[in-house]
């Protein structure tokens, strides 16, 4: 179902609508945020390169990883790197985000940094100027798809770094400008959510039409090292998708890494998360399955006499045993075979008679 | 480590062309390090010989107990006895007044080895007058050609005046420094006047800073300035023949800053007050009545080695022997009273580490 997320990105935005956007949240507990990001990136790349998507190109803004790693990744997925010039531009904010290298080079301390030949890379030398960054992204995108009606996608590798260099509001402003630009089809970004306060996380979720959370696997086993071991092999992928009809589609999947490929499998116990959130969360189980319900009905309760098929006459505290046969003052309990339920039919001898309070109400139980 | 603990080597003959080991108040430790005495024989023994030359020693004060002052005094007095230059900084208006409270060496009757024979025969005077003896004679240590590495101090007797007058003692008030550059400069000037290490050490210096992060100091809010000061002191001391001894009340710092300070310390000790008339502790510990407080050793300097020093015990009780000299003792659990059983044991003892 992670594919569903990718398909929504592929389909892009309708005319006059904001671009589709996806936040991928991860935390340090599960090291697979970047992996999921790259999965989405490569999926979308293959849609774009085969012309199946609304967008005709993709601009990758990379902060936390070198473009060479992206090239490597595309190669591993069997995507033609040489042909990527047609549909991929990389804005490299990783190699020299603050212009240190540029300055050192000018002073003759270091030599020219290597440039990545295999991809079409533009190096950004001051990421603190987000206006410039915005126009650079647009220039690169238009360079791919032209000035017409064709659209392109934007991928931002870690907003976290971007916020570190600037501020939350300016990053949010940049994203909003990108989303509302007519030529942007879809955007997705990665956010290390545990590095930011809830406000920042909420702000970016507000700006996105889809939110994906990468989490460590939940497990009943409480052994610390077992949990760590597991969360370095597998994880959970939670996604919520705001649909056009106003509904929210919630998905949960488990993923694991096999042969350096990420594999998604749906979780068997996937209960409806919305339904769960409507019901108050309690420590014990309030819902019963049908089987549990029928099992419960079969339990013979203490106030039902265990010797079945006998009508039982119970001493009511006022009359001696020999008056038992007096039918008017008998309390009767009967077991109904068909429904499997216990039922007590109770006759009072007169309406104004108050029940005796000084009697032990339980002395009639046969336990 | 065991051999360096033995105190018998603390006596050494002073010969003019002697190897460095005969320099008063210094002795060789393992891994090419040199020890300098803390002024408390027991503490020297626990630390394996004393403080490393070039180390930063930090004491975490207990705001409820003044015992860090005892350590500070003995540390400074020991330096003066050995004719080592001392720099003292404190957050008081007149730090020089503190010098008057430094203790003198203990001259006990049963410890005859310290005294010269002549003194024993000819003069029998009350201890109060001993200080006058010293005024027209060279200090005791040099009189008989013997120098003790570590002295016992009599905490009730002030140090001889000539020791203060005759030595290089600099006093700095931390109140005068609006920024820390002033005190940093005096420290670096102090250290630069010490002879450099060139295979042969001739003398060592001591820097004593009391209650460094006291709130009355102007720099109290500038935690990064304080950190960077400590870091630079540490680096300066490391490359010179000195020991810096710094006490600070950790509770006045935020937890993370306090941890940073603790990381900066080469040797880290802490003081803990002992509750008065605590019946539970009294039954739990032998000698509870005599205890002044507790001294814990958190970190022992690890110079030129990667092996941590693991002590048998990390918490010691501070006591006054004969109401004069400071001794440290391991905590001993009192024998449990047979009648009452062992049920009385401790809700309080969680903090005690035997």
């Amino acid at each position: 179902m992670a594919d569903a997320v990718c398909r929504v990105l592929r389909d892009g935005a309708l005319e006059g609508e904001h671009a589709t956007s996806l936040t991928i949240n991860d935390s340090v507990d599960s090291p697979f945020g970047p992996t999921v990001f790259h999965y989405v990136f490569t999926q979308l790349s293959s849609f774009i390169s085969s012309g199946k998507s609304q967008s005709r190109g993709i601009v990758l803004v990379t902060f936390s990883r070198s473009p060479s790693i992206t090239a490597e990744l595309l190669k591993n997925r069997g995507i033609d790197v040489a042909g990527s010039h047609e549909w991929l531009r990389v804005l490299d904010c990783y190699t020299d985000p603050l212009g240190w290298k540029e300055r050192l080079k000018d002073h003759g301390v270091i030599k020219t940094p290597l440039t990545e030949a295999s991809l079409n890379v533009t190096v950004c030398k001051d990421v603190r100027k987000l206006d410039d960054l915005f126009s650079q992204i647009l220039t690169l995108g238009k360079g791919l798809v032209g000035d017409g009606k064709n659209r392109f996608s934007v991928a931002i590798d870690s907003l976290t770094e971007m916020i570190r260099h600037t501020s939350l509001s300016s990053v949010a402003c940049l994203l909003s400008n990108l989303r509302s630009h007519a030529q942007v089809s879809s955007i997705f970004w990665l956010l290390h959510s545990d590095l930011h306060d809830l406000k920042a996380v909420a702000a970016f979720e507000y700006m996105s039409s889809m939110v994906a959370n990468v989490k460590p696997l939940t497990s009943e086993n409480t052994d610390k090292f077992y949990l760590l071991e597991q969360s370095y092999k597998r994880g959970e992928f939670h996604a919520s998708l705001k649909r056009r009809n106003g509904r929210v589609r919630v998905m949960r999947e488990e993923f694991s890494i096999e042969n350096s490929l990420i594999k998604f499998t749906s979780i068997a116990y996937g209960e409806n998360a919305v339904a769960q959130s409507l019901v108050p969360k309690v420590q014990f189980n309030l819902q019963l399955s049908d089987k549990e319900r029928s099992d419960r009905a079969k339990v013979v309760l203490p106030f039902e006499h265990q010797e079945t098929e006998k009508s039982v006459q119970i001493y009511d505290g006022r009359k001696s045993d020999k008056h038992e046969s007096n039918g008017a003052s008998v309390e009767k309990s009967k077991k109904q075979e068909d429904s499997g339920r216990g039922e007590i039919i109770y006759f009072r001898d007169s309406d104004d008679e108050m029940p005796d309070s000084d009697e032990d109400p339980d002395d009639d139980l046969d336990i | 480590m065991a051999s360096s603990k033995v105190r018998t080597s603390s006596f050494s003959r002073k010969v003019p062309a002697a190897p460095t080991s005969s320099i008063p108040g210094l002795k060789y430790g393992p891994n090419g390090t040199i020890f300098l005495s803390s002024g408390i024989p027991d503490l020297d023994k626990i630390l394996g010989g004393g403080f490393h030359l070039g180390s930063l020693v930090m004491i975490i004060e207990d705001t409820e107990a003044p015992h860090h002052m005892l350590l500070l005094r003995t540390f400074m007095s020991q330096g003066l006895i050995h004719n080592q230059p001392v720099l003292y900084a404190s957050p008081s208006k007149n730090p020089r007044a503190f010098l008057g409270t430094l203790p003198a060496t203990l001259v006990s009757k049963d410890d005859k080895s310290i005294k010269s024979d002549a003194e024993q025969k000819d003069l029998r005077i009350a201890w109060q007058y001993k200080k006058y003896l010293g005024e027209n004679k060279p200090p005791i240590e040099e009189r008989d050609g013997k120098v003790e590495y570590c002295n016992d101090f009599d905490l009730r007797k002030p140090i001889e005046k000539h020791l203060i007058a005759g030595n290089r003692v600099e006093c700095v008030s931390l109140l005068d420094c609006s920024s820390l550059t002033g005190i940093r400069d005096s420290c670096s000037k102090f250290l630069s006047q010490l002879p450099r290490y060139d295979g042969n050490i001739t003398s060592a210096g001591r820097i004593a800073i009391q209650s460094f992060c006291a709130p009355q100091c102007e720099y109290y809010d500038k935690e990064w300035d304080m950190l960077s000061f400590i870091r630079s002191i540490k680096s300066m001391v490391r490359s010179s023949n000195a020991v810096a001894f710094l006490t600070f009340p950790a509770s006045l710092l935020s937890q993370s800053v306090s941890k940073r300070w603790q990381h900066l310390a080469d040797t880290l000790l802490s003081i803990k007050a002992i509750p008065d008339e605590d019946k539970e502790l009294a039954t739990l510990l032998t000698g509870y009545q005599d205890m002044l407080g507790l001294l814990s050793i958190h970190k022992v300097a690890r110079f030129n080695t990667q092996v941590p020093v693991i002590l048998d015990a990390t918490t010691y009780s501070m006591k006054l022997q004969k109401r004069r000299s400071l001794v440290l003792e391991c905590l001993n659990q009192a024998p449990v009273d047979g009648a009452s059983g062992c049920s009385s044991s401790s809700k309080n003892t969680g903090t005690l580490d035997f």
Binding site: E72 | S256, K259, R260, D353
Partner: protein, 252 residues
């Protein structure tokens, strides 16, 4: 002295083909993690497994002077002074480095420039390891500006992809554990491929067990992963010339 690979070496698995990894050592007041650095210096400079003449160590020292490391490593059978002579060890003494308030320029950028210069000179077919012995002190040198330190670390990180450098750093984790919303160790963990934590045992320090190591190896993220375990936990005892690593309870 060709010892079998220790548990630590196996857990780090630095021999694998993947270059350019970031190793983060997190320690605390009770258990210093410096011994991991010593171990790795020795490994890179005089391990028989790597063709050692090809490896260079750049050591940026904030915590201890050269004389200290020289003596420690000498006891482990590795002569740092000689290695420095032959330019296989480049030692940057930063004990007195100060970066004034707006002086990232003179301080951290210059330091980075020197590092990259050294890397460029040695970059031809060599394994370069960059070690920084105390990031927390780098923070003090930068006057508490965590942002500048992170920028500096980011630039160091670019060396891993550009030149295949391995980066090894030490961070005092307990400084940040007071729950005041410090994100610095987390940021460093995101940057790191391998995190090594040293902690005392819950029962405290002992003469036989000096502490425990937990190693988290993200390893495979770029797709070079091996099927080895990613999490390791074992005890250690530090000796002058060596460190013993062993699983809990496996020593009599």
């Amino acid at each position: 002295m060709n010892r079998p690979a220790s548990l630590l070496d196996n857990a780090l698995n630095l021999e694998s083909t993947q270059k350019g990894r970031v190793v983060l050592v997190e320690d605390c007041v009770e258990t210093s993690g410096a011994f991991v650095l010593h171990h790795l210096i020795k490994r890179f400079l005089s391990s028989p497994n790597l063709s050692s003449s090809d490896s260079i160590v750049l050591f940026v020292a904030f915590a201890q002077p050269f004389s200290h490391y020289d003596r420690v490593l000498r006891k482990m059978g590795c002569n740092l002074a000689a290695q420095r002579e032959t330019k296989r060890l480049l030692f940057f003494d930063m004990l007195m480095l100060e970066c004034p308030d707006d002086g990232v320029e003179g301080g951290l950028i210059a330091l980075y420039g020197n590092i990259q210069k050294a890397v460029e000179v040695n970059s031809s077919n060599k394994n370069i390891t960059l070690m920084i012995d105390d990031i927390s002190l780098l923070e003090v040198a930068a006057n508490g500006s965590t942002k500048d330190v992170l920028n500096f670390m980011h630039y160091c990180h670019t060396l891993t992809t550009q030149f295949g450098c391995t980066i090894i750093t030490v961070l005092h984790e307990d400084i940040y554990s007071s729950g005041d919303g410090f994100t610095f160790p987390l940021q460093m963990e995101y940057l790191a491929d391998i995190t090594i934590k040293t902690e005392p045992l819950i029962t405290g320090l002992a003469a036989d067990v000096h502490g425990q190591l937990t190693i988290l190896n993200k390893g495979m993220i770029d797709g070079f992963g091996s099927s080895k375990g990613k999490i390791h936990n074992f005890h250690y005892k530090i000796k002058e010339n060596n460190v013993d690593y062993f699983y809990p309870g496996s020593r009599s």
